[in-house]
């Protein structure tokens, strides 16, 4: 099925009345997902955003509740506000990333209301990639640059129109508001071609998890981390990183309990109140990062926690390239203990 861009634009502008619509916008120094009021504000031709869209479900700094003391009385208030939201233009890697985050925030043991309420009320309109950046390597993880997994509704840019794929019930509800037409044979051929594309850059992760099982004490970690600055760029720009810190922010007679992104690369992340820090060196922190993404997460959730979006590669101030790191781990000699 397909829809012309013109018609899609009209439908998009109508949706703005019912939904908070988030879409890619150029902010001068790159692409950012921002609330828009009109399709004309949306950047059509882009590789991907600087930061992943995870913040719409899992904000960087989120008030969980607030409290206020007046005289000797204390009042407590919930801070959760949720709106019906459409996320438009989500790339397949990021859409897959959201599925991975779902595993963290809604699972057998626990459902995080803050995350999940937002997630439930959001519709993801994915947009397939027709151009592939040199840092993209999603194909390593069985993600197709034009794959619809994770989207509710999935589009592929065909020039004047979009190919439309309804993926979920939520997607169908939206699709019902679109005047869809059938694809021509040429268009179908183009779609097939786009869908069959792979990222030129790929890493082999077939044996990585099992290799890492045996690598906790490997000397590989000793030198791997030397050039890492320990900043939080890779974590903050990762669509699947989800570590956070909960703190009380008290000022005057009021306070709030807030949840803030944290990162495994920050030394303070694991610092205990006692002063003890179980991961008090970069080596331990880097091991944790790689293990978590390619080993622990696999064991816990059945999938690797990397989607090959390449943001961490692009943003790293010292050009630390996760592809090389994984490759290095694959090749590292095992120490016989």
């Amino acid at each position: 099925m397909k829809i012309s861009k013109e018609k899609f634009g009209q439908a998009f502008d109508a949706l703005v009345a019912d939904y908070k619509v988030i879409a890619p916008v150029s902010d001068g120094s790159g692409i950012a997902f921002t609330e828009v009021k009109s399709f004309s504000d949306v950047k059509q031709d882009y590789l991907n955003s600087k930061l992943p869209p995870k913040a719409f479900f899992f904000p960087q700094h989120e008030k969980l509740m607030s409290y206020k003391k007046e005289g000797k009385d204390v009042t407590v208030k919930s801070e959760l506000k949720v709106e019906n939201t459409i996320l438009f233009g989500i790339r397949p890697c990021d859409a897959k990333g959201m599925l991975l985050l779902d595993k963290v925030f809604k699972n057998d043991q626990y459902t995080d209301p803050y995350y999940y309420e937002r997630r439930e009320k959001a519709v993801i309109i994915g947009l397939g990639c027709t151009k592939i950046a040199p840092t993209c390597f999603c194909s390593s993880f069985e993600i197709s640059p034009a794959g619809s997994e994770g989207s509710d509704l999935f589009l592929i840019d065909l020039g004047d129109s979009y190919e439309v794929e309804v993926v979920t019930e939520k997607g169908k509800a939206l699709a019902d508001r679109l005047a869809l037409a059938e694809l021509t044979a040429d268009e179908q051929a183009l779609v097939d071609k786009i869908k069959s594309a792979e990222t030129p850059s790929k890493i082999d992760v077939s044996n990585t998890t099992s290799k890492l099982d045996k690598m906790f004490n490997s000397p590989y970690w000793d030198t791997l981390q030397e050039k890492c600055l320990g900043c939080n760029v890779c974590s903050f720009s990762c669509p699947t990183c989800h570590c956070f810190d909960i703190s009380e922010e008290v000022c005057k007679n009021e306070g709030t309990r807030v949840r803030t992104w944290d990162a495994c690369m920050a030394p303070l992340f694991t610092l205990h109140g006692s002063g003890h820090n179980p991961r008090d060196n970069k080596k331990a922190r880097w091991r944790q990062r790689l293990m978590h993404k390619f080993n622990y997460f696999v064991h816990n959730n059945g999938s690797m926690s990397c989607v090959g979006c390449g943001r961490c590669i692009k943003s790293c101030p010292v050009n630390m390239d996760i592809r090389q790191v994984v490759d290095g781990a694959n090749k590292a000699e095992l120490v016989v203990e």
Partner: protein, 1010 residues
């Protein structure tokens, strides 16, 4: 001397000298009786605006001392009092003191000022030199101690008109005083105290300028005295620091100073130089320029510019060259009133070349000299002390501070005019001397307060008690006190809040104590007046209740709220609430803080065995301390060994020999002669010095008395002709009957050789007097001799003016030369020729001479740099030691436990060296008298986990109290040295350093609660 010594000292006069001596003695274990004639301590300093040469605010540097002295447990201050009788001898005197009725009970008066407001009588205010008015119920000045009012019985309506007749006239003050402090039936009383020694510092009076009618003072309104001018400049003066003429409030644009009014005047019998007027005139001129928002033209009419003190010459040069103060070398004939009705004054004067000129000024300031006060004269008479012809006390030669009576010492202007640092030096010297005299009685009469054991409240739930003071009506009439109490009750940690009529009253203290135990309060906040005056009082109450004194804070809702927002009761109440809240936040985060004690080594190290070092060593040894005297030269005595006579004719050779003998035979002195120092480490109470021979000396304090060096001239053919010699060389030649000098008929002295130059921009202080003395010796020996002194300014300060006057009288010829036309010395054949331009004749004159004596400069010691590194002490630009404070700490270094005396501090004469040496010993004695080194505990502290050892703290610490331990990579605070300023904490980027009582957490929490 009495065998029955008493460990207490009487101090007469509570100016800066009295205060310093009292603090030194009380701190070293003696009970002090401080007698002051007026109603408050402070003396002259509170009247001054700024002090030279640093332009420090006089009140700012004095007021901490006032508070310290006033509150000292072992200083008993008697104001409105004088000594009326004495008997006994050194070691044991009985002194009768008469205290006049104040009519206000010091115990009850809270200093609120309601009486003065109510008092209807206005009289001239003596403190403001009569430029403003005060009431009959008055306090001398706002920072005065005791912080209490008094009633002037000469002017009070009730005292003058009602009391005798039994009529209730006026008594408005009684009604106004809510504290019930006023007692019009108080009577004068006499009482006796027993003391072992006396220190007299009754101060001076200023010369009565009206007695010289040609200056027009008292007749012409625009002619004022320099002290009046100080009050005009002072921000707390009658015109709030606006520089205006008192009579018409016009801002003066052209001001003149006339120097030597009442000084250097043999005709009126004041044949001495007052020593301070040149500097204060320059200072006043500079400050006047700074003060006024319109350009001010300032001119100083002078005879010789006498700026021989430390850094004075630089101040003079700066005033002349940078600030644009005009200096006119002249003689003033008269001052007359301008004919143009402007109220201005006209000065008629002659310049050096004989021209007679007139000039008109908006304001003429008379630089009045210093004279002995009437009470000084009475005191000298009462004690039968030797006085000189001017009425100043005459000190024993080369003693610095000894009067003619054993056990009685003098400081300050009692024995002659002197400036503040010299006065403070003498005060410490007198205290040291009294301490030496009474050493065995140290600690016998002092008392120490006992407190109940301190409760440990660490970890307890914080229960803050809040007390809001009405201060009679002072706070309560503006701030809604009950609403502040109610507000406080709602704040976190507050367990109890109430109001008090006078929080500082005795009953309020008792109630606070009771509430601490009843309510289990473990933090106390008082919202009342200024913590600067009252914090110690409340902290005392906490201690008496068994609470640590630091679990406390004050909110100043009077001085900084009700008094300054009188017409805004609502806003003032809001502010009072906020200030109270801030205090509660700070107090609730206060921790129990203990004073920190460290061991004190009671030995002293004296470096340098000249007169200064030996004098200091002897004084300290007499005070009972072990002294190590180190001299790198092979013999003791220093440069004084080369002097024949002192400035008052003393036999220096005998004096030095006697001194050497005394130090050599003193049981408490260990000599280390002929050996230098290799290294020094440590700090107050715990120094270790390693000598070059490897010997290690442990000591608690160090005195640096390393002298200076004589400049070796490379001008005036010195070194090329043996008839050209320095002053010391000439002195030696005379002593040794050198034929070069013995047979000479013509003598020329050239002054300022190597001094007052661009390279050495300071005056060597002693050379003018020394040349005059040498010239007199030659001229008296051979009246036919031709003696010339070539000078720039004759700086024969103080009584040395007499010598200068005598020298001129008996025919010694003084020729002035200017800096840019120095004399030229040449040789024609064997004839030594000196050519100089005569200013009066304005032509060069040529003098043949047999002896050319050069007044070579005194230069800083060569070893100063080494000591500077070892002891972490600063040097000034010329390499002399830099004291902690130019005015009030003239022998202390900023590094605790290190003191200085003698030439290494700055050039000075022998008498002054001795006074300073005794002062250094006195100050060192204060430190050594402590069993332990104590610090209040509100110190910087380090969080080792956060410290990166970057050294920023070390760089910014002026007390040198922080060092970085490079092995453990952490900054270490030396609690003995830390002064608690917090500069380190605010400079520490890592947040590793903080300050007890003012932590980052406290400040941030206070900001959060705003």
């Amino acid at each position: 001397m009495s065998q029955n010594k008493i460990g207490s000292v009487l101090i007469v006069g509570a100016g800066i000298a009295g205060i310093q001596a009292a603090l030194d003695l009380a701190e070293s274990g003696y009970l002090v009786h401080l007698v002051e004639e007026s109603s408050a301590i402070g003396g002259t300093m509170p009247m001054l605006d700024k002090t030279f040469p640093t332009n420090d605010c006089s009140m700012c540097i004095l007021s901490p001392k006032l508070v310290e002295c006033g509150r000292h447990l072992n200083v008993r201050t008697y104001t409105n009092s004088q000594v009326v009788r004495t008997e006994g001898e050194a070691g044991n005197f009985k002194v009768t003191i008469k205290q006049k009725a104040r009519y206000i009970d010091l115990e009850k008066c809270t200093g609120c000022g309601a009486c003065a407001e109510a008092c209807p009588v206005k009289v001239d205010d003596e403190f403001n030199q009569g430029l403003g008015k005060r009431k009959a119920a008055f306090k001398q000045y706002s920072q005065a101690f005791p912080n209490a009012y008094g009633i002037d019985e000469q002017n009070c309506l009730y005292q003058t008109r009602g009391k005798a007749k039994g009529k209730d006239i006026c008594l408005k003050c009684v009604k106004a005083c809510q504290a019930g402090a006023i007692d019009h039936h108080m009577e004068d009383k006499e009482f006796e105290v027993e003391v072992g020694s006396m220190i007299l510092n009754p101060g001076f009076k200023i010369f009565d300028a009206a007695s010289l009618d040609y200056y027009g003072y008292g007749k012409i309104k625009s002619v004022i005295t320099s002290l009046e001018f100080e009050r005009l400049l002072s921000a707390s003066g009658p015109f709030d620091g606006h520089l205006v003429r008192p009579f018409d409030k016009k801002e003066p644009q052209k001001i003149a100073w006339i120097q030597c009014v009442g000084s250097r005047n043999a005709k009126i019998g004041n044949n001495y130089c007052s020593g301070v007027c040149c500097m204060y005139a320059i200072k006043e001129a500079v400050i006047a320029k700074e003060h006024s928002h319109i350009p001010v033209d300032t001119t100083i009419f002078y005879m010789d510019m006498r700026t021989p003190g430390k850094d004075f010459e630089k101040y003079y040069n700066n005033a002349k060259n940078q600030q644009g103060v005009n200096f006119i070398r002249s003689r003033v004939y008269e001052v007359t009133e301008a004919k143009d009705d402007s109220g201005d004054a006209v000065i008629r004067y002659s310049t050096e070349d004989g021209q007679i000129l007139t000039d008109q000024f908006d304001l003429v300031v008379l630089s009045v000299g210093l004279e002995p006060g009437d009470s000084s004269k009475e005191l000298a008479k009462l004690l039968d002390l030797k006085v000189n012809k001017y009425g100043f006390a005459e000190l024993e030669p080369l003693s610095g501070v000894n009067t003619s009576k054993e056990g009685i010492f003098a400081a300050g202007a009692f024995s002659g005019p002197r400036d503040i640092p010299e006065t403070v030096m003498q005060a410490s010297a007198a205290a040291g001397s009294a301490s030496a005299l009474l050493a065995e009685e140290r600690g016998t009469l002092v008392s120490e307060k006992e407190y109940p054991p301190e409760m440990d409240v660490a970890g307890d739930i914080i229960r803050t008690g809040v007390f809001i003071c009405h201060c009679g009506v002072n706070i309560g009439s503006v701030v809604n006190v009950p609403s502040v109490v109610e507000y406080a009750k709602t704040l976190p940690t507050v367990a109890y809040a109430t109001d008090k009529i006078y929080a500082c009253s005795q009953d309020a203290q008792a109630s606070i104590k009771a509430l601490i135990s009843e309510q289990k309060l473990n933090r106390i906040v008082v919202s009342s007046c200024s913590p600067r005056t009252h914090e110690p009082l409340f902290q005392e109450t906490l201690k008496e209740a068994g609470l640590n004194a630091h679990l406390f804070d004050m909110a100043n809702i009077r001085d900084q709220c009700s008094w300054v927002h009188m017409n805004q009761p609502e806003q003032a109440t809001e502010k009072a609430k906020d200030l109270t809240k801030l205090a509660i936040v700070r107090a609730s985060m206060q921790q129990q803080t203990q004073p920190i004690f460290m061991d004190m080594n009671h030995a002293a190290l004296v470096i340098g065995g000249g007169v200064a070092g030996m004098t200091s060593a002897l004084s300290l040894a007499d005070q009972g301390y072990e002294v190590h005297l180190v001299e790198k030269d092979s013999a003791l005595g220093g440069v004084a060994r080369r002097f024949s006579t002192g400035f008052r004719g003393e036999d220096m050779k005998a004096f030095v020999a006697e001194l050497i003998e005394k130090v050599s035979n003193h049981a408490n002195i260990k000599l280390h002669v002929g050996v230098g120092i290799k290294d020094v480490g440590g700090f107050l109470g715990n120094f270790t010095t390693t000598l070059e021979n490897g010997e290690q000396i442990a000591h608690g304090v160090a005195l640096l008395t390393i002298g200076g060096q004589e400049y070796k001239p490379n001008e005036y053919l010195y070194g090329q002709d043996e008839r050209v010699m320095t002053q010391i060389e000439m002195d030696e030649a005379i002593y040794n009957h050198d034929p070069k000098v013995e047979g000479a008929k013509n003598f020329v002295f050239i002054q300022c050789v190597g001094s007052r130059t661009i390279e050495n921009p300071y005056c060597s202080r002693t050379c003018c007097t020394k040349s005059v003395k040498l010239a007199l010796k030659m001229k008296k020996k051979n009246p036919a001799a031709n003696v010339f002194v070539l000078y720039r300014d004759m700086r024969t300060y103080s009584y040395f003016e007499e010598d200068y006057e005598e020298a001129r009288r008996i025919g010694i010829i003084f020729v002035r030369y200017s800096e840019n036309a120095k004399p030229v010395v040449s040789k024609e054949g064997d004839t030594l020729l000196v050519t100089v331009n005569d200013h009066v004749l304005d032509r060069p004159i040529e003098i043949e001479t047999d002896v050319l004596c050069l007044a070579a400069a005194i230069k800083a010691p060569a070893d100063g740099k080494k000591l500077s590194k070892w002891f972490k002490i600063p040097l000034n630009a010329e390499g002399f030691f830099l004291e902690a404070h130019m005015k009030l700490r003239p022998v202390d270094f900023s590094t605790d436990g290190v003191f200085m005396a003698g030439i290494a501090h700055s050039p000075k004469n022998m008498e002054e060296v001795i006074a300073q040496a005794k002062a250094a010993a006195g100050r060192a004695g204060v430190a050594l008298s402590k069993d332990q080194v104590e610090s209040a505990g509100l110190n910087a502290f380090v969080n080792k986990r956060k410290c990166t050892a970057c050294g920023t703290c070390e760089a910014v610490c002026s007390a040198k109290a922080i060092t970085v331990d490079q092995v453990n990579r952490v900054a270490v605070v030396n609690d003995a040295l830390c002064k608690g300023c917090g500069a380190c904490a605010s400079s520490c980027r890592c947040g590793a350093l903080s300050l007890r009582g003012c932590t980052n957490e406290q400040i941030v929490e206070m900001l959060n609660s705003l």
